[in-house]
Amino acid sequence: MATPARKRFLWMSRRAPHGSVQAQEGLDALLMAVAFEQPVSVVFLDDGVYQLKRDQDPARIGRKNFCAGFPSLGIYDVHDIYAERESLALRGLREEDLLMPVRVVDSAALGALMEAHDVVMSF
């Protein structure tokens, strides 16, 4: 049955949301980690920060708006959600452009974040 051990998982989501299904499948896997009651943190970087853009309407290109699912993470006590400052800045995104509040961290801090987790997943 359920494995009693717990690992700290870090999700690094690096891809734009709608050009491939990879980011969406990343969320599916993340929700499975949540279902296994593992402590999970999420960091959006590179083109992954586009997933946090508010007011998306991807139905117009035939894609599902799966990014609407990220705010549900709070229900399951996933609160450690980060976005990399440099990735946001390079793409002209400000915090008020995002669909939910996240912690903005410097690129230099990511190493320590990875260090603080047992399993680092990249999507």
């Binding site: 969320l27 599916d28 929700l31 499975m32 949540v34 279902a35 296994f36 599902k64 708006n65 799966f66 609407a68 699912g69 705010p71 549900s72 229900i75 399951y76």
Partner: protein, 110 residues
């Protein structure tokens, strides 16, 4: 496979989920339940309503294993229990209630 609701013939997959989610209305839920010998009462509808709102807001169904947690947060601890939910939906709240509520078939089930 098909489901007939008030003269409309709707396509379903082999497990009875709607092929086209936009076919859903309350009569569809009632017809699906009747086929399982369940008469939907206000407690059923409360759960179905919760699932529909959740799906509308987040564009996904609550993950199966933590469905009870999500329900407990919204509807209260007494209703967010497997015992309560299985009494309402004997085939499992995730499978059966999602089907009645017109949500996509859960894929994160295994």
């Amino acid at each position: 496979m098909t489901l007939t609701v008030e003269g409309r013939v709707l396509e379903t997959d082999p497990e009875g989920y709607l092929r086209r989610l936009e076919d859903w209305d309350e009569d569809v839920a009632r017809a699906m339940a009747r086929a399982d010998d369940i008469e939907l009462d206000e407690n059923h509808w409360e759960v179905l309503q919760f699932l529909k709102e959740y799906y509308e807001q987040y564009q996904l169904a609550p993950p199966v294993r933590v469905l009870t947690r999500a329900i407990a947060k919204r509807l209260g601890r007494d209703k967010g229990s497997s015992r309560y939910l299985y009494r309402l939906f004997p085939d499992g709240p995730a499978k059966q209630a999602c089907r009645y509520a017109g949500l996509p078939k859960p894929t994160n089930c295994i």
